[in-house]
Amino acid sequence: MSDLQKEVSDLERKSATAARLFDIRLIIGGLFTLYGVIVTIAGLTASDADLEKAEDININLWTGLGMLALGLFFLAWLKLRPASAPEPEE
């Protein structure tokens, strides 16, 4: 093994990322669920002017529902398959 490989292997053993870094699925799930709810509500209360601007598609409603579905998907994935963090070494 070269010096570089020894040095990096050593750092890998001391690294704390695997044990301590939070799961990004929680953030994606949370943010998109929140955005989904906000935008869906904007869609449910859309004015005629809004609808006309978007070619008679209730784009807020559809986008909101899509984002909500994505957010819930990530939360469900996290719930069903939680990350198995390796045991911290200290």
């Binding site: 990096v8 690294s15 870094l21 943010l31 906000i38 598609i57």
Partner: protein
């Protein structure tokens, strides 16, 4: 660093948005934007506790799962200059924009994953220049490190300046406010959370930008009468070739791109795109932070699938804008090609989705800048500071230094952004200049990885010769009109081919007269050598042998899919 097309076509100082593009944003839109900024900072603070060593800070401890690094790999390239620039390319050249994705990205990404990643990941190098140090010598290493560090700050600054222009046009903020605010947020979340924070934000940005672009495409298509309506109107206005990928690209045929099928395949598809995707550290860094060799190989392969389809999300707005404003790009229309997406946002999106789109655009600008900053600090710390300036200190010192240099790097980009706002010509010239240093990187890597005999000195000479040849071709042979090439774009492709060939010839010549690297030092770096036994890198996580995680299947699947995508646009 920017991808090959953007380097020429959308050099950010050229991004000038038309007057009168102010968006009708309201409190709802700003609330959506504010929530995003809070989350960005939150990710930085939450990632802080995972940073214990310099490896955590610069490479996430080499421990992230493949789907995270894969999405970050796409998002690091999906900066706002790329999004606005590719929509502009679509509005200007039509369906030919698909070349930058299907031939200009996918083959290179697959090659990185299947062929090159084992050498990168197993050798445990922490950056692309560090590979050059292991494989060649200090001169190749120092040259590429210094150039990379300088270019990364430059491009981060140009990105920031482009953000300021767009924000000023769309939201009415003064330029300096946008530069300082965005700079501050990037500074905060990278200094605190390191690469993990940058990568997590990139993954988030990936989904937000999809949520911004999809509604624009859906409403835009309906407005012009669906895909058939779009095709009909475009062909009436711009001719049949506008809706095909290869129409008019025969050698000698005139076409707006100024390139023929040979220069597209060799120049864009081979030299430029392989150089960018396989040796640009801002991209490769994402794969190096994956948790094992299998995950590192899958990083660019997982990225390839969204990359194949993202082109539709930028091409459709470009084409729709070309239909709605037939004079787009011409002086009288009041709109430049870069205005395609902002124009559609203004015309089509109601409040709510509009806020999502603004958030996506700002997120993309910040991620584009953050990718450069988070690769700059790594190269500056590991490759320049720790190897040539302050050597052999304890790891804590380099972690502290890394945080400091991140802050300095961001401040330098803020300075660059202000310089760019006064001297935009100089900046775009510098960017053109730097794009030539990327040209020979791929030839040096490919020869270094596959030809054991290539000598220690051949690396630096290959870099110098390739860069010089590409510059001579561009600035003298093309600009002085020695040979007639129809456009900058086409000249850029030809220069890349020339640089590649010159680099290869010089490497072979130098190798014949200089000493090879001792065999023992090449173990694991070159094709045909035995890598040193290393259980950790090889240790596949449970489930890595599932069929859908096989790198070969993913890689070839992406190639087949990209080829199939060409079929409807080729006849």
């Amino acid at each position: 660093m920017q991808s090959p097309p953007s380097a020429m076509h959308t050099a950010a100082p050229h991004i000038t948005l038309a007057e009168g593009l102010r968006l009708p944003t309201n409190g709802l839109d700003y609330a959506i934007l504010a929530i995003y900024f809070v989350v960005v900072l939150g990710i930085g603070f939450a990632a802080r506790r995972s940073v214990k060593t310099s490896l955590d800070f610069f490479l996430s401890g080499r421990s992230l799962p493949a789907w995270v690094t894969g999405l970050a790999f796409v998002a690091a390239n999906l900066g706002a200059t790329e999004i606005l620039g590719m929509a502009a390319t679509g509005a200007q050249y039509g369906v030919a924009v698909v070349h930058w994705y299907w031939i200009g990205a996918i083959p290179a990404m697959v090659f990185l994953g299947l062929v090159m990643m084992p050498f990168y990941y197993r050798s445990k190098v922490r950056s692309v220049p560090e590979y050059l140090l292991q494989r060649f010598d200090k001169s190749a290493h120092l040259l590429s490190s210094a150039l990379f560090a300088f270019a990364a700050v430059l491009i981060a600054g140009v990105n920031l300046y482009a953000l300021a222009i767009v924000v000023e046009a769309l939201l009415g903020w003064p330029q300096w406010v946008a530069i300082v605010v965005a700079g501050f947020f990037v500074l905060a979340y990278i200094t605190i959370g390191g690469l993990s924070s940058a990568i997590y934000n990139e993954v988030l940005q990936f989904f937000v930008i999809l949520a911004a672009l999809i509604p624009i495409c859906v409403i835009g298509l309906k407005k012009v009468g669906g895909w058939d309506g779009l095709t009909g109107s475009i062909e009436k206005q711009h001719g049949d070739n506008f809706m095909t990928a290869w129409g008019g690209t025969g050698i000698g045929d005139p076409n707006p791109l100024g390139a023929n099928w040979l220069t597209i395949i060799l120049g864009l598809g081979f030299v430029l795109s392989f150089g960018y995707w396989t040796t640009n550290f801002a991209e490769v860094q994402r794969a190096l932070s994956a948790k094992n060799l299998s995950a590192a190989q899958r990083t660019p392969l997982i990225a390839a699938f969204p990359k194949i389809f993202i082109v539709f999300l930028v091409m459709i707005p470009g084409l729709v804008a070309a239909v709605l404003v037939p004079q787009i790009g011409a002086a009288g229309s009041g709109l430049t090609y870069n205005d395609a997406i902002p124009y559609l946002m203004q015309e089509l999106l109601p409040n709510g989705v509009l806020g999502i789109a603004v958030t996506g655009l700002l997120a993309a600008f910040m991620a584009g800048m953050a990718a450069n900053v988070s690769s700059f600090n790594t190269v500056f710390t590991y490759d320049i500071w720790a190897k040539y300036v302050v050597k052999d200190r304890e790891d804590r010192y380099y972690l502290r230094f890394g945080r400091l240099i991140t802050a300095i790097g961001v401040l330098a980009s803020i300075g660059t952004a202000f310089i760019a706002s006064s001297f935009s010509n100089i900046m775009s010239y510098l960017q053109t200049l730097f794009s030539f240093f990327n040209v020979p990187m791929f030839v040096v890597f490919i020869i270094g990885m596959f030809w054991k005999r290539a000598s220690m000195k051949s690396g630096v000479w290959g870099l110098v010769a390739g860069t010089t040849a590409a510059m001579v071709n561009y600035f003298w042979i093309y600009k002085q009109g020695v040979i007639d090439i129809p456009s900058d774009q086409g000249a850029n492709f030809v220069s890349a081919i020339v640089g590649f060939v010159a680099g290869a010839v010089v490497m072979v010549a130098v190798t014949l007269f200089t000493a090879p690297k001792p065999d023992a030092e090449l173990a694991g770096l070159v094709y045909g050598t035995e890598p040193p036994a290393d259980d950790e890198a090889e240790a596949a996580a449970a489930g890595d042998d599932a069929w859908y995680r096989k790198p070969a299947l993913l890689g070839w699947g992406a190639m087949v899919l990209a080829t199939a995508c060409y079929i409807p646009y080729s006849f």
